[in-house]
């Protein structure tokens, strides 16, 4: 039956119009003074609204997040917060103070312990924990924001926004909100006559406010080469000689820990000595990690698309427009969604994790703490919708099909977990059962929070060797392959030595000597840069590390 002729098809637009009318008295056109922000939020936000507080890895709408958390809960309550990262205290204050009650998110990092406590106390009703792509996908289905509080570098009086290199999630948030008649309020570091580049068109933006302090940015992707260990260098050598070289990996995604930093720092030395320049690591999706500088400067890495930027790398990136995705204004534009998609469909993902079980499932969840997922599951999973071919993809697919007896030719993405058998304080990385199971019970989750599923993993690399899990034909073999590289952990000591020897004979397990890795070379002398100062030197003084990383 057709809807009645009196039915309204534009309720959102009409409601938005009344909100903007209420807001008008607190703004001068689109520009709102910082001291009027509380009044504006009370005028345009209604109880029960879905609200996105932009919180990325780098830039945070911290001024607006704080203002939201201080709203009068008698007037506005039961907000449904739909945001990617919970990183600031104010992101949880908003629940503790009763302004918001429901939460859908991706990642919680430092707030993980407090988040778990608030959930147990019934202050937060969690819808789901997502990956970035899932949450942004839902912005365009059932979780469209009614109001989004976002952050940008600068704005003009018409609301045009320049994000600077940390564009990150802003395009996804802005589009999801603006095209469903939502309200966008942007906090900016400065209001200017003309923005250097329009990242968000002004007609999508309802209000702009210059925050009293520039938005908070955390240099979370900077790894000091001085802290890289010889064990990490040994593992990096195995990755280059045992994976990147034979699979001819040219397009890949690196995690952001010290393990992958070690790989980056021995490209100009070790990989160069193997004649691999131009043959591996040409295109990457990763933030502009400072440890990539020597690999870029020596001609290994030709192109990098970034999910976000990194403090101190702005001038270096600006000076390398052939490598990075820079706008007509010269500065980089990052984009988490595109970076995630590019990484998902690349040939290899390599990253680290906190716990791995005997089937290769891994998790960063630890007891009493909810960290969420972020982007790792999308990077670290088989891309089942992939159709274009490449050498590494076909090779991994063929090896996989041989193991399972599949007759349909198909490629496979390389998903590599790079871990030391023990982490600091002798806590074993390998475990019979992930803490994720306990966390599921404690927090009444419906699934254990697994970051990367074992059946998506093709290789585990430890100091003991490489286990090619995709070459295993059944769960028993897979278990022995994991135990066979688990070192002297309890999981490793429980190996069936005969089964492990057999896997080694078949090349399912490879020790350093099996792939010609000389362990005596695994010293810090192999690092192209051994300190932050070395990175600055490689960059021709373009890289400007934040003060906390300077010891000179």
């Amino acid at each position: 039956m057709k809807m009645s002729p009196d039915f309204h098809w534009d309720t959102l637009a009409r409601n938005t119009a009344t909100r903007l009318k209420r807001g008008a008295s607190h703004a001068n056109g689109k520009v709102v003074a910082a001291e009027n922000i509380a009044a504006l939020l009370h005028a345009v936000i209604e109880s029960g609204d879905r609200v996105c507080v932009e919180g990325n890895n780098q830039k945070h709408a911290d001024f607006l997040a704080s203002a939201l958390s201080k709203m009068d809960a008698n007037l506005v309550h039961d907000l449904h917060i739909i945001q990617s990262n919970l990183a600031l205290a104010s992101h949880l204050d908003v629940f503790e103070r009763g302004v918001a009650s429901r939460l859908d998110f991706c990642y919680s990092g430092d707030q993980g312990v407090r988040l778990a406590r608030l959930i147990k106390a019934g202050k937060i009703n969690v819808g789901a924990i997502h990956t970035y792509l899932e949450l942004y996908g839902r912005y365009f289905m059932d979780l469209t924001p009614r109001v989004s509080l976002i952050a940008a570098q600068s704005a003009d009086a018409n609301g045009n926004l320049y994000t600077g290199p940390n564009t990150e999630d802003t395009p996804a948030v802005a589009e999801g909100t603006a095209f469903k008649n939502g309200i966008i309020i942007a906090q900016v570091n400065e209001i200017v006559d003309t923005v250097p580049r329009v990242d968000v068109p002004g007609d999508w933006v309802s209000y702009v406010v210059q925050a009293p302090k520039p938005h908070y940015i955390e240099p979370i992707f900077t790894r000091d080469p001085a802290q890289i260990t010889e064990t990490q260098i040994l593992m990096a050598m195995m990755v280059i000689k045992g994976l990147y070289a034979p699979y001819q990996v040219t397009r890949l995604n690196h995690g952001i820990g010290f393990d992958t930093a070690a790989i980056e720092l021995i490209l100009p030395t070790y990989a160069e000595s193997l004649g691999l320049r131009g043959k591996i690591c040409n295109y990457m999706t990763v933030n502009p990690c400072p440890t990539l500088i020597p690999a870029i400067e020596s001609g290994f890495v030709k192109g990098i698309h970034c999910a976000g930027s990194e403090l101190g790398m702005e001038e270096y990136v600006r000076a390398r427009p052939d490598v990075f995705f820079n706008g007509p204004d010269g500065s980089m534009r990052s984009n988490r969604v595109f970076c995630q998609i590019a990484g998902h469909y690349s040939d290899l993902f390599i990253g680290s994790t906190l716990q791995v079980d005997t089937q290769g499932n891994s998790s960063t969840a630890t007891l009493n703490r909810i960290t969420g997922f972020g982007g790792a599951p999308n990077f670290g999973s088989e891309s089942r919708a992939r159709r274009h071919v490449s050498y590494p993809w076909l090779k991994a697919g063929e090896e996989s099909a041989q193991a399972t007896g599949s007759t349909m030719p198909r490629g496979r993405k390389l998903v590599v977990q790079m871990v030391e058998s023990f982490r600091e304080k002798m806590s074993p990385t390998f475990t019979e059962k992930l803490d994720a199971w306990q966390l599921m019970e404690d927090l009444s989750l419906e699934l254990p929070p697994v970051m990367v599923y074992g059946d998506d993993v093709t290789q585990i690399v430890t100091e003991e060797g490489i286990a090619h899990l995709h070459k295993c034909s059944n769960p028993q073999e897979r278990e022995q392959a994991v135990r066979g590289v688990a070192g002297f952990t309890a999981v490793g000591l429980k190996r069936d030595q005969r089964a492990v020897d057999n896997l080694r004979d078949r090349g399912v397990i490879q020790r350093p000597e099996d792939i010609g890795v000389d362990v005596s070379l695994a010293t810090r002398d192999l690092l192209a840069a051994k300190s932050m100062k070395d990175l600055v030197r490689w960059s021709g003084n373009l890289y400007q590390p934040p003060n906390r990383f300077r010891n000179w």
Partner: protein, 104 residues
């Protein structure tokens, strides 16, 4: 500080080319390894000084694995440990063997 002392072997087919020497440093998370020849009837003696208690079994496993893999014999191997993980211990032992081979 705790000292562990034990012997591994005898090795049936010893590699007699491994001599004496010192690798590593006693810094946090690291260790120092000293190889000294001795007549031990084709056994290896490990003397381990470590600040971390409760990992005797792990030490036995790591050192036995290295001794068997490299067919070590007639050596006193002294380890001064400052909280190294088994990964670092194994790596350091491997490096010592590589470095002291032919260094009689």
């Amino acid at each position: 500080m705790q000292t562990l002392e034990f012997e591994v072997g005898p090795c049936a087919n010893p590699d007699r080319s491994i001599g004496s020497g010192l690798v590593g440093v006693v810094g946090s998370g690291n260790l120092e390894v000293l190889f000294e020849p001795a007549d031990l009837n084709d056994k290896v003696k490990f003397v381990i000084a470590t600040s971390v208690h409760g990992f005797d079994e792990t030490w036995h496993a790591v050192t036995r694995s290295c001794a068997e893999r490299y067919r070590l014999a007639n050596l006193v191997i002294t380890i001064n440990d400052a909280g190294a993980t088994p990964a670092v211990v194994s790596l350091r032992l491997m490096q010592a063997v590589e470095e002291f081979r032919g260094g009689l």
